[in-house]
Amino acid sequence: MFVQQLINGITVGGIYALIALGYTMVYGILKIVNFAHGDVFMIGGFMGLILAQTTNLPIWIAYPLAMLITALIGVLIERICYRPIRLHGADALAILISALGVSIFLENFAQLVWGTETHAYVQKIQRTAYNIAGITLSNIQIGVIVLCIILMIVLYLVVNKTKMGMAMRATSQSITSAQLMGINTEKVIALTFGVGSALACVAGILVGTYYDAVYPLIGYSYGLKAFAAAILGGIGSVPGAMLGGFLLGIVETLGAGYISTGYRDAFAFGILILVLLFRPSGLLGKKHVDKV
């Protein structure tokens, strides 16, 4: 029972981690919370569904295509809704409210286009369950965990070993200094939004496949929980988001299994509030000091 719950938790946690990466990368560079990220995740899920449903493309073409479209949407959101405000030099509240506006817009746009009902996901992969020593494990579950880990390793390598990753890290330290070093920071920011959105799209497709459901408001709860995961790990830190995602998934599943299912969502928010109160920099984050 315990091990079963643990595995279920890791599966959900991997998905949280993928979404959390988008939050943490954007926060690392721009120091803003991209409220719309949860809804980009929802759009990603729908893109995967639509492309797999309406076209006869095999999933290894349809899903990357969905990722590409979602990435473009993410870049567009930054371009249209954040950049003008950022370049005005307006305060953080303005960007935050704009992000909230994007989130409301996307949620209601999706409800209008796809209806409020829950859509069954296209099952391109035959679901088979294995039973190992009393623990049920489906191939989709294994796939989710493996894919999450692979994507995280790739992202970690990109951020730490490539030139683009170096530019990203430089930009996150100081946008002005990075510009002085000849880095095209706007390009870096656009890329960050693109990569984050593509990862969110993968998470959307995985949730769709794992739970066999997408609906327009899915981004709200998942986005919040992923944000909680990002905070738990230390926002701005890429390994922190991964750790936070897995931890949150495990805690939530165990809490729902052993304490109460009605309050399932409250565990994530409870953790979020506790972490923010007692260790705002998170588990792996750097201490932040306000300087004049």
Binding site: L96, D265, L276
Partner: protein
């Protein structure tokens, strides 16, 4: 130009007040009265949120939770203890304020976006409690047959009475907040909004001001909640959700952050608009979202925000010039 506005301002205000006072007499349709009462409730909510978000600069995304706490507190007191509406109103103000204090003490040490998330999480948790604590809140079924107000044995539960009640409450709240934000206390709040570190450097302790603003804000939202519960006479958790918080925030933002007039206009317009344009009510939230983005890009101060600030500067300048002229003529 400014003089012209000043000249017509007073007659306009008089006409406006007369219109509001005579509204139930002029327009007898109970539907319009109902919409106006709702608008009154939302004006109180947006005014209270403006205190914390507009004047103190702390984004709160859980305002519906305080609205809900007030509504549930008021409803339970009126239904279970048979408390008089007016006492329940005060009690829900206090209870909501206490919850504001409990959330505020730890949360207000956080910066903007973190606070937004914590209040959002708080709103979610409160909603979950409303749904799951069935012994107290009756769960998703909600609380039914909440009595209307009565004073000295006279029942005041007609729509007209409710209209005048909310009119009085709104006027009182508006008056008090107007006094508050134009006082030294209000100046301190606005300094914190402009720059927290600078505020600290001149001896303003931000946490204290934020906390008081937060308690007042949540208390007023609770008051509106109690009124709502008594007016609709039925409450359920579905009213006190994230969307309500966002709607209230949209009213504040579109009306103008840091402007009481803006909040009143935002509250009235955004309540009336979906009612007037029934045909597009499906698109209401999309419209709000898009409007929030456009507003932040082109006019971050809201419709009413900037003109207010400009007027203030003019006032100071005009006052200065007046003194100079006085000096010269002497």
């Amino acid at each position: 130009m400014m003089q012209k506005i000043k000249k017509i301002k007073k007659p306009l205000a008089v006409i406006g007040i007369l219109f509001l006072l005579l509204f139930p007499v002029i327009i007898t349709s109970s539907y319009y009265l109902h919409v106006m009462i709702l608008a009154g409730i939302y004006v109180v909510l947006s005014l209270s949120l403006n205190l914390i978000t507009g004047y103190t600069g702390q984004l709160c995304l859980g305002h519906a939770a305080f609205f809900g706490i007030g509504a549930y507190a008021g409803a339970l007191l009126m239904v279970n203890v048979h408390m008089n509406f007016f006492f329940a109103l005060i009690c829900s103000f206090i209870i909501s304020g206490i919850f504001g204090l409990l959330l505020g003490i730890p949360a207000l040490r956080l910066r903007g976006d973190y606070l937004a998330i914590v209040t959002l999480g708080f709103g979610e948790i409160v909603h979950l409690v409303f749904v799951n604590w069935t012994e107290l809140t009756n769960g998703p079924m909600g609380i039914r047959s909440i009595p209307g107000p009565s004073l000295f044995g006279i029942e005041l539960d007609g729509n007209q009475e409710f209209y005048y009640l909310i009119l009085i409450i709104t006027a009182l709240v508006l008056f008090l907040l107007n006094r508050l934000v134009n006082s030294g206390f209000g100046m301190a709040m606005q300094t914190i909004k402009a720059d927290e570190i600078a505020a600290e450097s001149i001896g303003i302790y931000p946490v204290k001001y934020k906390l008081i603003a937060f308690i007042l804000s949540s208390g007023l939202a609770g008051l509106a909640g109690c009124f709502y519960a008594s007016y609709i006479s039925y409450i359920s958790p579905t009213t006190f959700v994230y969307n309500t918080s966002v709607t209230i925030l949209a009213m504040v933002v579109l009306g103008g952050l840091g402007s009481l007039t803006g909040s009143v206009i935002g509250g009235v317009v955004l309540t009336l608009l979906p009612e007037v344009l029934r045909s597009i009510s499906d698109y209401r939230m999309i419209f709000f979202g898009a409007l929030m983005i456009i507003m932040m890009i082109f006019k971050p101060e809201g419709f009413w925000g900037v003109s207010k600030r400009v007027k203030n500067i003019y006032k100071i300048k005009a006052g200065g010039a007046q003194n100079e002229r006085d000096y010269e003529s002497r």
